[in-house]
Amino acid sequence: MAKAAAKTKAAASASVERRPALAGRTLSAPGVKVEMLPPAERISLRAPQASLAALSKALGVTLPVKPKTSAMKDGRTALWLGPDEWMIIDEAGNDPLADCAKVTALHSAVGISHRNVGISVAGPAAAVTVNSGCPQDLSIEAFPVGAASRTILGKSEIVLLRTAEDSFRVECWRSFSDYVFTLLSEAASDAAN
């Protein structure tokens, strides 16, 4: 019923309707579930060392400086992507871009909320599923909970975040999402065997 309501509302303002790629798609296989995550606010942040304190304060989450790590607070996750590059994902509905706009310290913040989509891969076979296309070592020792990295899945670039021991968040560009979701779905079916 909520769907019908959304449809009516969308018809009234079709030009501003947000249509996330593959919204609502899920796949359940024995041992793993792959599903599209709800829309989130995201920014790509570039900043020198000197600006980190001010940005961390404005964002409310301390920007991690160690490779392959992330930090999370109040629904906002900061992922280390490079020595001066972070991805901020806000799932609480607040806009990190507005928070960064108040900071006078040198930085570059670009809104990429609609560029990316998030896919959740969860279940005991989650690591096996992601590993079918991702060459990184995803054992819990090498890629612990909270570890985040830009990497590759099949032919597509992804950002991978381990949210729990048996759960991953896969972020990819929306134009790649069909490929990524299909690859993960196939892998999920195989992972059970």
């Binding site: 990184q136 990497t151 590759i152």
Partner: protein, 98 residues
């Protein structure tokens, strides 16, 4: 699959995340307009292409996206070492026997 150590990520990552970016330590002439055609050809086109140890630029394109330098043996394809971009050419290579 080769494992390549990224000096920025501080660990070994699978080669699929990397892209080769040609020979390293090629300095651009300070006054390129004054270069003679022969000198420009040498700078722009001519590469060492040795059999053995080569100094190369690599980019961790599907990772931290940073360029770095690597020392590789073209015969065995083994990476001797990697170091950050901008650092001087290492004078001594680890485990160099010859």
């Amino acid at each position: 699959m080769l494992l390549i150590r990224c000096p920025y990520c501080e660990e070994e990552r699978p080669e699929l995340e990397f892209r080769n970016a040609g020979e390293a330590h090629i300095a651009r002439p300070t006054n390129i307009a004054a270069e003679s055609d022969d000198d420009f050809e040498k700078f722009f086109f001519i590469r060492a292409n040795p059999k053995g140890v080569i100094y190369e630029r690599w980019r961790h394109i599907h990772g931290c996206a940073r360029f770095f330098n690597a020392v590789r043996d073209t015969v065995t394809d083994k990476f001797v070492m990697t170091y950050k971009a901008g650092e001087p050419k290492p004078s001594k290579l680890p485990g160099a026997s010859k």
